[in-house]
C-alpha cells in the first residue's frame, strides 16, 4: 500500500511539474509597439514555435570566397558573427537567433519578419565605405577605340560561348538587341551599328553601349545594355585594356532618360581618399532638397585625413562608394570637408532604407564578404494555418486511438488512454524543458507518436490476455504480463533511442529536432505505459479485493 502511495505521489508530482513547465508565464521581452521596440512584460507559452509555425524568416550565410580566397573560414565567420549579431539586434526583432552552425555557416532566424529582401540586405551588406574621386582626365574615352577593337575581335566568340552555357541574363540582353535589329544574325558589326544610339553611333560595339554623362567620369548605360556591358567588362582582355589606376563602378540609382531606364557608370580613381574605418556614427535624415540622406561623422583622425584629402580635390567630384556601388550622384567638393558628411540616397527613397544603411554603417563592416545560401520566409497566416490544421489532426488522432483502445480493451483500454493523455502532457513538458522548438515536422511526429505510443500498452495487454488464457489469476496475470512484455518494450525503446541519438549527432537542423522529439516521446511512452498503467492496475486491484475477472 505504501508502495502504491509513492507511485501515485511520483505521478502526481510529475503531472504538476509538467503543467507548471507548460503553463504560460509572463516574461520581460523586447516587443514592437507603435513601430518602436520596447521592453515589456508579455505572456509567453514555453513551447517555442518554429518559424514554419509562427511565420518569419530564416537565413543561412556563408563566406563568399568568389572574389578573394579566405584562409580560415571558421575564424572569419566567428568575427563576422559578431557584426551580424549587432546588426540584427539593432534591427529590432524579438528573439532573433544568430548562431554559427558547423564551421562554415551562420544561421539567422527572424521571427515575424515579413520583408525578406530588406532583412537579407541588412545582414549581407558589407558596409565597406570608400570615398573615391571621379576620373577627371577622360581616360576611358581615350581607351574606347581600343576596347571596341577587342570586342570586335573577341565579341562574337564570347557571345557564342555565353549563350551555350545558358547564361540567362546575358542572353536576355542579347535578345533585346537582336529584336531591335532586322539584320541577319551572325553579322556582328552590322547589328551593332543598328542598335540603340550610343556614345558614338558609328563607333564600335563597346562604346555604343555608353553615353557620356553630365559630370566628369560619368556615363549612362541603357538598362537593356547593362548585362551585355558587364559581360564585356568581365573579359580579361578588356580588363587589361582599361585605363590603369581607375575603376569602373555602377551607380546605385536608375535614371529615367526620355522614358527609358538608364543606369549610371562611374570611372573613379582606384585609390580611395578615405575608407569607412574611421566612421564613428551614422544616422538617417530627410532633406527637402536632396531627399533621403544618411549623415555620418568620422572620428578625429578620420576627420583630419578627410579634411586634408578633400582640400586637395576642390572642384572635383567625390563618389561615395558603398560595397562597390556609387551612392547617389557624386557631389562636387566646394571646400575641404571635416569630420561630418552625408550620403545622399536620392529622392523617392524611403526613410527605412536610410535607416538600414545607417544601421549597417554603425554596426561596422563584415570582416569577410558573406553570401546568402538559403532563405526561407513563411507568412504568419500560413504558420497559423499549419498550427490549426496540425492541432485538428492531433485531436482526431487522439480521439481515434481512444476509441480503438477503449473499444478493444474496455476497462484496461481506459487505463491506457489515461496513460496516453499523460504521455502527451509529459512529452510536451520534456520538449519545453529542453527548450525544443516545435516545428511542423515535429508536430507531425507528435501526432504520429500518439498512434505508436500505445504499442507498449498493447504488448502488455496482449501478454496479460495470454496469461489469463492459461488460467492464471488476475493479479498474477497482470504481474506476468508486465514482466514478459518488458524485454520487448525495452529493446524496441533502446533501439529507437540509439537511432535517434545517431540522427541527433549527424543530422542537420530539422532532422535534429525530429530526433529530440523522438527521444522525448520514447522516454514518456516508456514511463506511461509501464509505470503509470501498472500503478493504475495496482490502484484497481487494491480497491477490488479478490478480483476474479479483468476487463481487458
Amino acid at each position: 500500500m505504501s508502495n502504491l502511495k509513492y507511485r501515485l505521489g511520483l505521478i502526481a508530482a510529475l503531472v504538476i511539474a509538467s503543467v507548471w513547465a507548460l503553463f504560460p508565464r509572463t516574461v520581460v521581452e523586447r516587443v514592437k509597439r507603435d513601430g518602436a521596440f520596447v521592453y515589456d512584460t508579455v505572456r509567453r507559452v514555453p513551447l517555442k514555435r518554429g518559424l514554419d509555425l509562427q511565420g518569419g524568416m530564416h537565413l543561412s550565410l556563408e563566406v563568399d570566397d568568389s572574389k578573394q580566397a579566405v584562409a580560415d573560414k571558421s575564424d572569419a565567420l566567428d568575427r563576422a558573427l559578431k557584426v551580424v549579431r549587432s546588426r540584427i539586434d539593432q534591427f529590432g526583432v524579438s528573439e532573433p537567433v544568430v548562431q554559427k552552425v558547423g564551421t562554415d555557416r551562420i544561421i539567422v532566424e527572424l521571427p515575424g519578419i515579413d520583408d525578406p529582401k530588406r532583412a537579407e540586405d541588412v545582414v549581407k551588406a558589407q558596409a565597406f565605405l570608400q570615398f573615391q574621386i571621379t576620373d577627371e582626365t577622360g581616360s576611358l574615352d581615350k581607351a574606347l577605340s581600343r576596347l571596341d577593337q577587342i570586342v570586335r575581335d573577341k565579341g562574337s566568340a564570347a557571345v557564342a560561348t555565353t549563350s551555350t552555357t545558358g547564361d540567362q541574363p546575358v542572353q536576355k540582353g542579347l535578345d533585346l538587341f537582336t529584336k531591335k535589329d532586322s539584320a541577319a544574325p551572325g553579322d556582328t558589326t552590322r547589328r551593332d551599328t543598328a542598335a540603340v544610339p550610343g556614345l558614338n553611333a558609328s563607333a564600335g560595339p563597346f562604346s555604343r553601349l555608353l553615353e557620356r554623362g553630365s559630370i566628369n567620369g560619368e556615363y549612362y548605360v541603357a538598362q537593356s545594355n547593362a548585362p551585355a556591358l558587364e559581360t564585356y567588362l568581365a573579359m580579361p582582355e578588356i580588363q587589361a585594356a582599361l585605363p590603369p589606376g581607375r575603376e569602373l563602378l555602377w551607380g546605385s540609382d536608375t535614371l529615367s532618360v526620355g522614358g527609358a531606364p538608364y543606369r549610371t557608370l562611374y570611372v573613379v580613381d582606384a585609390r580611395p581618399i578615405i575608407t569607412g574605418e574611421y566612421l564613428e556614427d551614422a544616422k538617417p535624415n530627410q532633406s527637402p532638397i536632396e531627399g533621403t540622406i544618411v549623415e555620418f561623422r568620422f572620428n578625429n583622425e578620420g576627420g583630419r585625413r578627410f579634411r586634408s584629402e578633400t582640400g586637395k580635390h576642390v572642384q572635383d567630384y567625390m563618389a561615395i562608394v558603398l560595397d562597390d556601388k556609387v551612392m547617389g550622384r557624386p557631389p562636387v567638393i566646394i571646400q575641404a570637408i571635416g569630420a561630418r558628411g552625408q550620403i545622399t540616397m536620392g529622392q523617392g527613397r524611403s526613410l527605412q532604407e536610410a535607416q538600414d544603411l545607417a544601421l549597417v554603417l554603425r554596426a561596422g563592416s563584415l570582416p569577410v564578404p558573406l553570401k546568402v545560401s538559403e532563405v526561407r520566409s513563411i507568412g504568419a497566416s500560413l504558420g497559423q494555418d499549419s498550427i490549426s490544421k496540425g492541432t485538428t489532426a492531433m485531436v482526431i488522432a487522439v480521439l481515434a486511438v481512444i476509441v480503438i483502445m477503449i473499444g478493444y480493451y474496455r476497462f484496461s483500454g481506459t487505463l491506457a488512454v489515461a496513460a496516453l493523455v499523460l504521455y502527451v502532457l509529459f512529452t510536451m513538458a520534456v520538449l519545453a524543458g529542453f527548450n525544443a522548438v516545435l516545428t511542423l515536422p515535429g508536430l507531425a511526429g507528435l501526432v504520429l507518436s500518439v498512434g505508436i505510443a500505445v504499442d507498449a500498452n498493447v504488448l502488455i495487454f496482449e501478454r496479460i490476455r495470454e496469461e489469463l488464457d492459461r488460467g492464471k489469476t488476475v493479479r498474477t496475470s497482470i504481474d506476468e504480463g508486465f514482466k514478459h512484455a518488458w524485454s520487448a518494450i525495452l529493446d524496441t525503446s533502446v533501439a529507437t533511442i540509439l537511432t535517434a541519438a545517431v540522427l541527433y549527432q549527424y543530422g542537420t537542423g530539422p532532422v535534429r529536432g525530429f530526433a529530440v522529439t523522438l527521444i522525448a516521446g520514447i522516454a514518456a511512452s516508456l514511463f506511461c505505459a509501464v509505470f503509470v498503467t501498472r500503478t493504475f492496475y495496482l490502484v484497481w486491484l487494491s480497491r477490488t479485493r479478490n478480483a476474479q475477472t479483468l476487463s481487458i
Binding site: 543561412s60 538559403e374 488522432a397 474496455r410 504520429l448 505508436i452 540509439l498 537511432t499 532532422v511 523522438l518
Partner: protein
C-alpha cells in the same frame, strides 16, 4: 472481450518466395524508373532554386499565370496548384552563378522577379506570398549526405545493439528487413513521383524506427520461444512467434494508421507527402517484419547452422533435417535451385 487473430496458426513463412518476388519486382520497378525516367524529384531544399507559395485574393487561370511569369522573365518556372484554386506554388531555378553580377548578386533576385511579374499582371495587393524559399546548391547537397550518413549509421548502431542483446543473426536480419523497408519506400516515392522534401526524409526516418520496432517485437518472441528449449525447427518457432504477436501487430498498426490518416486528411498540404509516405510505410513495415525479417533469419540459420540459442540446440543436422521436412510445404518447385545452394 473482443479478440482478433486469437490463437492463429497461419504458415506465414511458406509465402516468403512470393513475398521476395513481389519485393524485388517493386524495387526493380523503382530502380527502372530511376534509370529510364530520370532522377529523383527532389524539392528545392535538396537541389537549389526558388519556391514561392502565393495566395491570390481571387481564383486565377493557370495559363495566364504562366504567361505572366514568362513575360516577367522568370525562366522555366514550374507552376502547381496547391490546395484550392487561389493558391499556387511557383518554382524556378536560381540563375547560374556568375551571370549578370549586379542583379543576381542578391539571393532573392528570382523571388523579386516573380513578385514583379505578378504585380505587373495582377496588381500589387491581389496576392500574398505565403512562403518563400531560396536554397543554394551547397546546402542541399549537405542535407542529402547528412541524411544518408545518419541512416547508415543508425542501421549500424541497431545492428550492434541487437547483436549484443540477441545474437548477431537477429541483428543482421532486423537490419536487412529495415533496409528493405527503406528501399521499397524509396521505390514507392520514385514510382509515384512524390517530391522528396525534408518532411519526406522525416517520414523515412520515422519508418526506420517503426519498422525496427516491429521486427524486434517478433524476434523477442522468437528468443523467448527458443529459450523454452522445445525441440522444434526454427521454421516452426518463427511461424509460432509471428502468430502469437499477430494481435499486437494488428492493433498497433491500426492505431498508428489512425494517426497517419488523421494527418493525411486534416493536416493540410504541407504534411501530405509525409502522411502518404507513412501510410505506405506502415504496410511495408508490417509486411517486412513477417515476410522479410523471419525468412532472412531462417536463411542465415541455414547458411551458418549453429545454435540460435544455447538452449534450442539447433544443430547443423537439425537445420538440414528441417529444410528437408519443409520441402513438401513449398508452393512451387521452381525454387529448387536456390534451395540447393543454401542447404549444401
Amino acid at each position: 472481450m473482443i479478440r482478433i487473430f486469437h490463437n492463429t496458426s497461419y504458415d506465414f513463412i511458406k509465402w516468403w518466395r512470393h513475398a521476395a518476388v513481389a519485393t524485388v519486382v517493386f524495387i526493380m520497378l523503382g530502380v527502372g524508373s530511376y534509370v529510364f525516367r530520370g532522377g529523383v524529384n527532389y524539392s528545392i531544399e535538396f537541389t537549389s532554386g526558388t519556391l514561392m507559395q502565393v495566395r491570390f485574393t481571387k481564383p486565377v487561370d493557370d495559363g495566364e499565370l504562366r504567361a505572366a511569369l514568362d513575360a516577367g522573365g522568370v525562366d522555366g518556372a514550374e507552376i502547381q496548384r496547391f490546395g484550392d484554386a487561389t493558391e499556387y506554388t511557383i518554382r524556378a531555378q536560381n540563375r547560374a552563378e556568375g551571370a549578370a553580377v549586379s542583379d543576381s548578386a542578391s539571393t532573392s533576385a528570382v523571388a523579386t522577379a516573380i513578385r514583379a511579374a505578378l504585380d505587373a499582371k495582377y496588381g500589387a495587393g491581389s496576392y500574398t506570398a505565403e512562403r518563400t524559399e531560396v536554397v543554394g546548391p551547397r546546402v542541399g547537397a549537405e542535407l542529402r549526405t547528412g541524411a544518408a550518413i545518419a541512416m547508415v549509421l543508425a542501421s549500424f548502431v541497431t545492428l550492434v545493439y541487437l547483436a549484443f542483446r540477441f545474437e548477431w543473426r537477429f541483428g543482421l536480419a532486423a537490419v536487412i528487413s529495415t533496409a528493405h523497408d527503406v528501399l521499397i519506400t524509396l521505390a514507392f516515392i520514385k514510382l509515384f513521383h512524390i517530391e522528396v522534401s525534408l518532411v519526406v526524409v522525416g517520414a523515412i526516418l520515422t519508418l526506420l524506427g517503426y519498422s525496427g520496432n516491429d521486427t524486434i517485437i517478433i524476434f523477442d518472441r522468437v528468443r523467448e520461444n527458443l529459450r523454452k528449449g522445445r525441440k522444434q525447427p526454427l521454421y516452426d518457432t518463427l511461424n509460432e512467434s509471428i502468430n502469437e504477436t499477430l494481435p499486437r501487430s494488428v492493433l498497433t498498426h491500426t492505431t498508428t494508421m489512425a494517426a497517419t490518416l488523421a494527418l493525411l486528411l486534416f493536416a493540410g498540404e504541407v504534411l501530405r507527402p509525409f502522411a502518404v509516405v507513412m501510410t505506405f510505410g506502415i504496410f511495408v513495415a508490417t509486411f517486412s517484419s513477417i515476410y522479410v525479417a523471419s525468412p532472412v533469419l531462417l536463411w542465415i540459420e541455414r547458411k551458418f547452422p549453429r545454435a540460435v540459442s544455447d538452449k534450442a540446440q539447433v544443430s547443423r543436422q537439425a537445420a538440414l533435417a528441417e529444410s528437408a521436412k519443409e520441402r513438401p510445404a513449398r508452393p512451387a518447385p521452381s525454387g529448387a535451385a536456390p534451395r540447393r545452394a543454401t542447404t549444401r
